[in-house]
Amino acid sequence: MLRYILKRVLQFIPVFLGVTLILFILQNVVPGDPIKLIAGERKLDPVTEMNIRAAHGLIKTDADGNIIYDENGDTIETPMVERYFDYLGGLLQGDLGTSYQKGREVTEMILEAYPYTVQIALVAIVIEAIVGIGAGIISAIKRYSFWDVLVTLVTSALVAMPAFWLGLLLQLFFGIWLKDLSGGALALPISGVPGPRPQFAGWMYYILPAVTLAAISTAYTARIMRSQLIEVMNQDYIRTAKAKGLSKRDIIFKHALKNALIPVVTYVGMDFGAMLAGAILTETVFNWPGIGQQTYTAITRRDWPIVMGSVTVIVVVVMIINLIVDVSYAFLDPRIRLGNKSEK
């Protein structure tokens, strides 16, 4: 087991380097000079501009931070490779650089935005697990019943609709129509309030964004749960349990569910990782100040230190969650032995 974990962690390294390297190359070919964009339409004062470039390590400086000039008196651009190693070096010390636009530490900005993403992901994953597993079980036990057909129809529709559209429909229904009908008594707040955290206290704010974030994965969870439970119910040991005269309830909850849940738990776990990567669309539709929205805004403004920093954090978090899911798989199902040539 330990060897397996170690091997997986070692496999992270090339993937991580690959992801960051691709991103690094991307930022160097993107049109638009990020430093010139700071001032917007106006022209930056050349000296200020040079100092900003020096501060971000875009041009070469000596050990005291003085700008180095070449023989023609021009500044020397830091080569891309050198800057990539600067980034990696900073990363090892927990320093993700400084935002071009806001002049703030990227680490600090991520620490500020990430809790919002984590909170909404936690609410969403609870919804996904409860509703998805519940609907899947009902649908499998009462096969071809009204409920089964309903679950099949709803899940088919959910996976075929854009999540942001669902978010807008929920806003329309719970934020606008119900408000008009009930005089505001039943309405749910439709967008997050960016700003200092105390303003963000009401739990009601979490409902609609979390439902939107959870919707599609809930549909998948229900489908996987249904097909797994149906498959398990056809196995011999369930027939034996039936022959012993156990009640249907005991068979399902004590025998079948334990095995049927394993792939579902894996899916939900992986999905939690995906949710922690930040949901750009959900966060945009609900004006939710999480890491997804922050990264998206940073890309449109070419604020590369924020983009690099966020993607770094996201990729590491997703990889760790996936590893935890894979390892927990072995605990849930003792038949699985990790490390024995199990990969494809």
């Binding site: 075929a160 942001f164 559209w165 806003q171 669309l281």
Partner: protein, 317 residues
């Protein structure tokens, strides 16, 4: 954002339909893979609905130039004289989906949007499929170092948060429809490569491949003539489902203002334009969403039907 549109839970119902006893009269003639598959597909009512809907959307979109401007009004042109008068009208007989803020007919824009969304879905899927097939074939057939490099590259692509990657890609190459093709197309290859790679691996060691090799067939010929036909079923199924995913991705990009450049209508752009009037004219945003929902659903159901008809196992997708 690109969802694996794999609706496997309905498989049992469809399989039951597919395994229904074949009539004595049609049990002997066409015994080709596609002939049989078509017969089974015809018995799947959901798949037939899906095909009819897709054909309907395609025909309406393709013939739009012939009748839409006359009946409903051009999708982009806005007559300044009547603009204010026609702005944001509720759905009526003359404007079944209402009009937008510039007095343009929304149904007309949804129909022209279908052109863009369908084209993106098909072209982007085509690009991913070609890249995926080539890389998957190299990885599986040559194995060793090639396999490691290509599959690690696939891991890297899959480790990226998909939405972020597409957005970053668009940031690099700029928006506009061609770039949407490219971005979605390039980022979609890893899943296809994985499917094709495992399909090849499962037939690579078969006797007929050995036989072909011993007769001196070249690698390309073996892959193209012997291995590809044996895995084409899974690729067709996967690509069909992928079209729906590409349409969803395009709508998300356009929604964020990174896709098609206005005034050209794509379904995502229409939702984004309609979003501003959520409170007063919700149909502006509901109608294009319904177009996405029904079309993506149709491609998913068709993919589902094809999977059951062609008897493809989708474990690696």
């Amino acid at each position: 954002m690109q969802y694996p549109l794999d609706l496997d839970t309905r498989a049992d119902e469809c399989a039951a339909a597919a395994e229904a006893p074949v009539n004595a009269e049609d049990s002997n003639p066409s015994r080709t893979l596609w002939g049989d598959a078509f017969k089974r597909l015809k018995k799947n009512r959901l798949a037939i609905f899906a095909i009819i809907w897709i054909l309907f959307v395609v025909v309406v979109a393709a013939t739009a130039d012939l009748w839409v401007p006359q009946v409903l009004g051009a999708p982009n042109a806005s007559d300044t004289a009547t603009m204010v008068m026609n702005s944001r009208l509720a759905p009526s007989l003359q404007h079944p989906f209402g009009t937008d803020t510039l007095g343009r007919d929304v149904l007309s824009r949804v129909i022209y949007g279908a052109r863009i969304s369908l084209t993106v879905g098909i072209v982007a899927t085509g690009i991913s499929t070609i890249i995926g097939l080539v890389l998957g074939a190299i990885a599986a057939y040559y194995g060793g170092l090639w396999d490691t490099i290509i599959m690690r590259l696939a891991d890297i692509f899959l480790a990226f948060p998909y939405t972020l990657f597409v957005i970053a890609m668009i940031a690099v190459i700029g928006n506009g429809i061609q770039n949407v093709f490219i971005a979605i197309g390039i980022l979609g290859w890893p899943s296809i490569a994985r499917v094709f790679r495992s399909a090849i691996l499962s037939v690579k060691e078969s006797d007929y491949v050995d036989a072909a090799r011993s007769m001196g067939a070249s690698d390309v010929r073996i892959i193209a003539r012997h291995i590809f036909p044996n895995s084409v079923a899974s690729i067709v199924v996967y690509a069909t489902m992928n079209i729906g995913g590409a349409i969803l991705t395009e709508s998300a990009l356009s929604f964020l203002g990174l896709g098609v450049i206005p005034p050209d209508p794509s379904w995502g752009t229409l939702i984004q334009e309609g979003q501003k009037f959520l409170q007063t004219e919700p149909w502006l945003m509901i109608m294009p969403g319904l177009a996405i929902l029904t079309t993506v659903l149709a491609f998913t159901l068709l993919g589902d039907g094809l999977r059951d008809a062609l008897d493809v196992k989708m474990k690696d997708a």
